[in-house]
Amino acid sequence: MDDVAQTTEFGKVLLIGICGTLLVLFTLWLGKLIAPAKPSKEKLSTYECGEEPQGTAWIQFNARFYLIALVFLLFDVEMVFIFPWATVFGQPSLLAMDNRWGVFTLLEMFTFIGILLIGLVYVWKNGDLEWIKPKPQKPTVSVNIPASAYDKLNKEVHIVKSGGVL
């Protein structure tokens, strides 16, 4: 397909984008038109489960998210390089020209993916993919009932009649 044809194809994409924008503008406008607006101090305060909001939310967050974004960037760029390869790999016309084409391109890509894999292993071993795991803590209560009594209670089996009317 030549470039001119593709330009018109993207023109149609623009058309659908314009439709989407119009839809959003229309709904927001309609909402503004018919929805009531009675703001008060309490309504406009930040929701924090009914407590008074404490400070701003624009604070530093866990740096791990940043790390993930960095690693993603590297992988994504590498992936963009593989896309054109995937379309020419194993193409019958190119294979017919030289039968070494298939093996050659495959080995070439193995080198490339190998480097990608080394990157993944490095990040993995470095612990950059680890997240802080929650440590379950068993609550301890000081009562005079021995723990074995609870175990006995837990092992008790109750037979529930099935097919009953609820």
């Binding site: 659908i16 439709c19 839809l23 927001l28 994504d76 896309f83 790999f89 495959l106």
Partner: protein, 344 residues
């Protein structure tokens, strides 16, 4: 360019728009009906017969509710967030081929808005843009829960994008084209890509769930931890836009999965029926939508079957399971292709 051409394209765009919105609307009803069915209750059944008018009522209510923008929020970005979310959701459907070409009064009308030669890359790119909507909205709310939801959404979707891209690459090695129309045409009859790329499909499907923020990957908005996640502070129509974009995303990703792996509008014995091309095009489109509905049902089924992941489990699944698996899938596909070419 003649006028008739522009009118035809405009009509097609409007039609696809309306169909997308109606399906997204009725997905909300279907979700609640399916939930009701799975939990042995009726679901909404008051508004109209079988609750058919429920989505209209919900939509109306969104309009009539007061819009609240918190005093501490960044106002411009607060409005921009849901806007980006819904626009990216809508334009991702532009490259999906809905059916074969129709011939109306001597004119060939393709049932596809734009046949871009990098179709699948386009979908991939637009889906990646969608995360900006969530990230901006969550950050602009100036609410701690929203911020957490937004950050989670961003890192979740970028993590699963890699595995998704790698699984697409393995499929491209088989199809050797990026145009969605050509990919569908190659799957004529029963030569669906699912038979040659089963592992790739599994990876793609999992990533699609993660990209749509559907259960079990709905950590950006998990109610039990983050109240409403990134849309905690949103109300009225802006909340509606977020909800809507989620359902549109679900519809479009079902359509993409069907297009890539389940033959799109093809079905077995399509050419041995002996029907006229126009009738076949319409029949193909109906089949395509049936396949999409099956996938939407699958999305809902999963929602009521699997519990939500913990965040470290989610990241481990993405980075330590899906990425190595999809790389293995590429290697496997390459070796099999070469062996087949060389020895058979």
């Amino acid at each position: 360019m003649e006028l008739a051409f522009i009118i035809e394209k405009f009509a097609l765009v409007i039609l696809i728009f309306v169909v997308t919105l109606v399906i997204a609307m009725y997905s909300t009803l279907a979700e609640r009906k399916v939930a009701g069915f799975m939990q042995d209750r009726y679901g909404p059944d008051r508004a109209g017969p079988f609750g058919m008018l429920q989505p209209l009522c919900d939509g109306g209510k969104f309009f009539f509710k007061e819009e609240i923008i918190p005093a501490g929020a960044h106002k411009a970005l607060f409005i921009l967030g849901p806007t980006i979310a819904i626009i990216t959701a809508c334009i991702s459907s532009a490259v999906i081929p809905w059916g074969r070409d129709l011939t109306i009064a001597g004119r060939v009308v393709p049932l596809q808005v734009a046949d871009i030669n990098v179709g699948i890359l386009y979908v991939f790119g637009v889906v990646a843009l969608g995360v900006y909507g969530i990230m901006l909205g969550g950050w602009a709310s100036n609410n701690k829960f929203s911020l957490m939801g937004a950050v989670r959404a961003a890192s979740q979707s970028i993590s699963y994008e890699i595995a998704m891209g790698l699984s697409i690459i393995a499929m491209l090695m088989v199809t050797q084209t990026l145009s969605l129309r050509e990919i569908v045409e190659q799957q004529a009859g029963f030569n669906w890509n699912i038979w040659v790329q089963p592992l790739g499909f599994l990876i793609f499907c999992t990533c699609a769930f993660a990209e749509c923020n559907r259960v079990p990957f709905d950590l950006p908005e998990c109610e039990t931890e983050l109240i409403g996640g990134y849309h905690t502070e949103y109300s009225s129509m802006k909340l509606g836009l977020y909800m809507f974009s989620e359902y549109i995303n679900m519809f479009v990703s079902s359509a993409v999965m069907v297009t890539l792996y389940f033959g799109g509008y093809n079905f077995p014995f399509i050419d041995s029926l002996g029907l006229s091309p126009n009738l076949l095009a319409i029949l193909g489109m109906v089949i395509f939508f049936l396949k999409i509905f099956a996938f939407i049902f699958f999305f809902m089924w999963i929602r009521w079957t699997l519990p939500r992941f913990r965040y470290d489990q989610l990241m481990n699944l993405g980075w330590k399971m899906l990425i190595p698996l999809s790389i293995a899938n590429i290697v496997l596909t390459g070796v099999i292709t070469i062996v087949k070419d060389t020895f058979f």
